[in-house]
Amino acid sequence: MRITIDGKEIEAREGQSVLDAALEAGIFIPHLCSHPDLEAKGGCRLCSVEIEGVEGAVPSCMTEAKDGMKVTVNGPEADKVRRTAMELMLATHPEDCTGCPKYGKCELQSMYQYLGVSPARWRKKSRSLANNDSNPLISHLFTRCVRCGRCIRACQDLRGVKVLDYIQTDIGIRAGIPDGKSLKEAGCRFCGACIEVCPTGSIMDSVKIMREDRTHAENVVPCRTACPAHIDIPRYIRYIKNGEFDKAEAVIREKVPFPETLGSICTHVCEDDCKRNELGLPMSICKLKRAAAVESTGAWKARSVKCAPTGKKAAVIGAGPAGLTAAYYLAKKGHAVTVFEKNEKAGGQLRWGIPSYRLPDEVLDREIADILETGVELRLNDGGQTPGALKAEGYDAVLVCIGTHQGARLPLEGNDLPGVYLNTDFLKASRAGTPLPVGERVMVLGGGNVAYDCARTAVRLGAKEVHMACLENEQQMTSTPDEIREGEEEGIILHSAHSFLKITGTDKVEGVELQKVERFYFDENRRAVIDLVEGSNFVVPVDNVIFAVGQRPEGTDAMGLELTHGPYIQANEKQETSMEGVFTAGDVFTGTKSVIMAIAGGRTAAEQMDRYLGGDGCIDEELVDKEAPDQYIGHIDGFGDLERVEPAVLSAAERASDFRLVEQPFTCDQAKCEAERCLQCDLRLTLTPVKLWNEY
């Protein structure tokens, strides 16, 4: 149907309001209490118009468009209504726009600037009350509430959470939580729809969670932002909640080819930024990823695309997480990819650095097999390749990602006595099935996760007494609290805040001399300062010592590439090295980091190399249709306090004697239950953004 607005004929749909039809056609009619995703109520009257044949002004949001309707936006009557309404709203609204956190983004401010009205002829009244920052994540500044009711309609009708309502207070009516309850007590689901639809600065994200260097979307969904590969976490958690594990895995696989591996061993920085931290414990994002991978049937493969051959050849040196990820995406882009691996099996640190009680061979084999299915050629036991030689052999691009596989040995007296091992050698030998012999008592020097891997491996190899010593105190240690707790359960004796003076013994290790650390910190020149407690020396008698104090790249000096910080490969932000067509990724470039960082680096390398090889550099995939999430999330009593679900873990007695998997995946029900806790922070981004008048 056609309607005419200010003489201009526009198209309108059956059942559409005059306001919506006008806005859709790019004709601006002022409005405030209406929102594209909420039912119109007609409370503010800013959208008043005049209609031929109808007496007086009518709100256009509540007026259904009829064929042939003739509408005048700024007729004298409508204009008077609109101006008076704005004057009255301003008369009880604080005047200090510049002091408001919504300044410049406020719909009320934009609207009164458009109308150019002032409340001067009316009585001014301030309905001021203190800002309420006592709730997690959401700040209430209801002094600025204009009673448009958008937050209430969003909370009640759109979300079905039914927490916000009009409340009567001694200073007037406003939006709020009835009965003086906190958001948690009222059953808030912290979805943030109220924040998103508030036209003024009355409901805002807590200042501390909004970082200025991030976009709105990045701030709103911090888990996805924090993940180095930017996996769409809320989206896959939502699928898990609905029991759709195939779709959940597909979402994860849109960004990474190692879902179950990551679900088992990821350092999950996403959880550190999860907004649920403000309510209690974060979402168990990592373990949910594992559940998705374990429960799915691999339906994603049907959607996985491989481009036509490009005729280009790419070589990857090192089959770790970075190299395999890059190889996977390069192969999918149609390039012929060969991966050269020094060892007899692919996996890099996943295979040789992480003990099998955390990541079994079967999981790794399965996920690597999926990668090889894309046509990647894997050459095992093929070390010593250099990028220069490979290029000469006809490879158009080369990726060097050989990791950091050489353990560091500290310059201590006795550091080369028989019985002294390096972390990398010790873990690799164990994983290869030819473990280095351990005596009754073992001392691991170091306090990170690798140190725990060594100590817990020693326990499993039969050591009766396993010690760990590190300079850091328990708060400073880089190992995760879970690791420390599980190690303690397995009987590991931790000497945190201890310095190692020397390894004693004449022709074999007999002990380690330790001294208590008073204070350990880094000074302004970032040099380590260690204050020791005098006279606190003692010797722990042991048969073996394992150094777990960092690891470095091995063999990079033979690569013919520019290096930095010693053996690390120098590259720019595109991960291009000093040699044309040669790229790098993973630990050998970044220093020893996490598996997810290596995978993210592998993705970047694939993008850059594809571009170098003449492609578009786009490795994004859609392995599952983008479905619109359910807006109606409903009310759950006590939602804010729902407890984090923990998976079954073998008892220390059961697990410490062999390399059985310590932690079981979530059961289906556990996964669904844990997924239910998600705040679905991304849901508010699906609300239609409101356009200000100057955007029409």
Partner: protein
């Protein structure tokens, strides 16, 4: 009783402005907040009427109320706003003189609005003791010992402290009809 019915039942000893103010405060529109004209309109009418009763009216206030009423009548979200607007309108029409006198800061005929009440010292009762003068914080009472005291109406703030201080019941309040009192202190008859 509806607001309209209460307005129609206003008696002579009631002040129409005062009754209307209380009715608007008690009206549903003042505790709903779902529409701008119902809620903010009522808020404005309350603030203006309150100023009327407190002798703080500003010029143009009657028109301001009429503007608000007009909008409430045609643009409220429900019939409550329309009903309130009609009641205010009728009240202002029926008791036009009362509203105009309040708006001009002249008088409250019924003697209800405290700020319009005047205090007077009856010449035949005053003993010239000076207690009221001592009690008055605004120096609004003229007189000397054994002379009938006189309240300067321009200075008086209607606090009522003189009335409490007087043991002779010589001080009275008045609404529209004022007692005859001397303009200046004269010697007392009563001793």
């Amino acid at each position: 009783m509806s607001t309209m019915e209460k307005i129609r039942a206003i008696r002579d000893d009631q002040c129409a402005v005062d009754v209307l103010l209380k009715e608007v405060i008690a009206h549903k529109c003042n505790s709903c907040g779902k529409c701008v004209f119902g809620y903010e309109g009522a808020t404005q009418i309350i603030m203006i009427l309150k100023d009327f009763t407190e002798k703080k009216a500003r010029s143009g206030d009657l028109d301001l109320i009429r503007d608000a009423v007009y909008m409430m009548k045609t643009q409220s979200l429900c019939e409550d706003g329309e009903e309130l607007a009609a009641a205010v309108e009728e009240c202002m029409e029926t008791f036009k003189q009362d509203f105009e006198e309040h708006a001009a800061k002249k008088a409250c005929r019924a003697g209800v609005c405290k700020k319009f009440v005047t205090y007077h010292i009856l010449a035949e009762m005053c003993t010239g003791c000076g207690d009221c003068m001592d009690a008055c914080e605004d120096d609004a009472i003229l007189g000397k010992k054994k002379f009938v005291h006189v309240i300067d109406q321009d200075e008086c703030v209607q606090c009522g402290k003189c009335m409490e201080a007087c043991d002779e019941d010589a001080i009275v309040t008045a609404g529209a009809v004022k007692p005859r009192c001397p303009k200046k202190p004269i010697p007392c008859k009563k001793r």
